[in-house]
Amino acid sequence: MSCKVIGEFKSVTKRFGATVALDGLNLKICHGINGLVGPNGAGKTTAIRLCFGLIKPNAGSAKLFGLDCWRDSYTIRSRAGVLYEKLAFYDNLSGLEQLKLMAKLKGASNPLVELKELLRLVELDEAAYDRRIRGYSAGMRQRLGLAQALLGNPELVFLDEPTSNLDPLNRAKILELITILNKEKGISFLISSHILPELERVCNNFILMDKGKLLRQGAIGQMFDKDSTTKFIVKVHPVKPVATLLKNEVCIENLSIVDDCLHVSVRNVGLFKQRLPLLISQANASLDEVKMVESDLEAVFKLAVKEA
């Protein structure tokens, strides 16, 4: 896997009594936007907490920026930000006061103008800046949490379900913001979410976990290189010449024509996406629609969990 590694877990094990939360976990956090995917209880939040020194591993080594996550957690905490799924603030303070306090605790010298700019960036309603947090809606709290995570120009930001309390429109805005921050400020992200199509849209490195173990890691294309198949429905006119050409392709596992549509099981999605337009033009056909029965990430995720 070619990526600039900023964090690495090597055989990390964490037990809570009889429960094994992380079971020899190996993973790499790359520079860019990382997606952390796994079913409930996979150990995603435990892994995030471990990065901040809130948990000490029983075995293995966890490093971020080349520093030990338990021993050097103080330095790590000043270089990374986090938004936990469980949002907690000093509810008696206003949003701006909370941000001022956290900036002070982080040792960030953000003047008031910058703090306001940060709140504007996460699109927190300006009227809410001086209102007490206890009166905030779930979405407003989420935005404030995100602003808090971005305090002090962090190199890496961990986001645990960052869009869980937002409507689809605002979810898209937050994802757009993450992409912009990554491109313009070079901030890396590790996003843990169950909304896989969203992750697929913004992330360039995926970490799939289950039962405290790494299932797969890498870009979507890399993860598809295994024996998995993904189903596509292709609407083309005429169907038959395209079907004949497709049958001979190595990336195709299975093919059938149903209701004038091609139902294709694809072994290598990357190759299929490359070859399909060429074959369609070769057959002098026209493409109406290509629909994936499930998203790439969903397919990989399901397959990886099934294999595990």
Partner: protein
């Protein structure tokens, strides 16, 4: 820088812990308990004996006020400490605070001080006020004696708060922690209601050791500092531990109780504490 960070955090913690109606409830509870302890100087003394009698009355008044304030102090300290630690853990505030570059030592100290210091100051303030309104003619003496109350309340609260932290970090749930801390502290406070002299006369030998319990120990220490409740050498209880041990021994005992839970909890929080849920 670290001092400023500590101050900012303390301000935020004070605002959270003492938010309405906590302060109002505490003040009301303490007022009710202190009013009951007011004892005006009613006897008539000769001019030569007056200053001694006055001094002894002030000391006695301080002692009874502190003793009557102990129950609300213990209740509020148990509740607030559990709220501060267990609720923060349960609601995710603890993990948020531990994820910013603030040392665990500072966080523990700030959270502990945000509960204990205002309670100790309130107890001192109430003692000063309620003793002062009776013995207003000698405010200096009242101030001097009530300072002893401040130190003793503070040391008692260290024990009570330590128990609160221990229970909160063990249970990690707000309501069960509050109830357990309340019951535990009530159990430790209860021996202060037992009349040692009466129990010894009735043949209950355990009463001799009651003065060694945390809150009895601190009240006995205060009485010894104020020279209150002395008995003659002919009294049947003159040989009991309460009267034979020196004020220094009780001082040591109170400091021991103040540290016995807090220090291990501090070390645990700084070195081993984990967010597990």
């Amino acid at each position: 820088m670290s001092f400023q960070v500590g101050l900012a955090l303390l301000k935020a913690e004070l605002g959270k812990v003492w938010a309405r109606p906590i302060l109002e409830i505490t003040v009301a509870l303490m007022s009710v308990m202190s009013i009951a302890s007011i004892k005006p100087l009613t006897e008539i003394y000769g001019q030569s004996k007056f200053s001694v009698a006055f001094q002894s009355a002030v000391a006695e008044s301080v002692s009874t006020t502190v003793a009557s304030l102990l129950l609300p102090l213990v209740i509020m300290c148990a509740v607030l400490m559990s709220l501060s630690f267990a609720r923060d853990y349960e609601q995710g505030m603890m993990q948020s605070l531990l994820s910013v570059p603030v040392s665990r030592k500072l966080l523990f100290t700030v959270k502990f001080v945000a509960v204990v210091l205002p309670l100790a100051l309130l107890s001192w303030g109430f003692t000063l006020f309620f003793v002062g309104i009776t013995f207003y003619s000698n405010p200096w003496l009242v101030l001097q004696f009530s300072f002893y109350a401040l130190s003793v309340s503070f040391l008692s609260l260290m024990f009570c708060g330590g128990l609160g932290v221990l229970i909160s970090l063990a249970i990690k749930r707000t309501l069960p922690s509050v109830l357990t801390a309340l019951l535990t502290n009530f159990f430790f406070w209860f021996p202060t209601t037992i009349n040692m002299e009466f129990a010894l006369r009735e043949g209950a030998s355990y009463a001799n050791y009651l003065c060694l319990t945390p809150y009895n120990g601190s009240l006995t220490f205060l009485n010894k500092l104020l020279n209150v409740g002395q008995v003659s050498s002919f009294s049947p209880i003159a040989n009991s531990l309460q009267y034979t041990l020196s004020s220094g021994s009780f001082g040591g005992l109170v400091v021991f109780y103040a540290c016995i839970v807090v220090v291990p909890m501090f070390v645990y929080f700084c070195r081993r504490f984990e967010i597990r849920e």
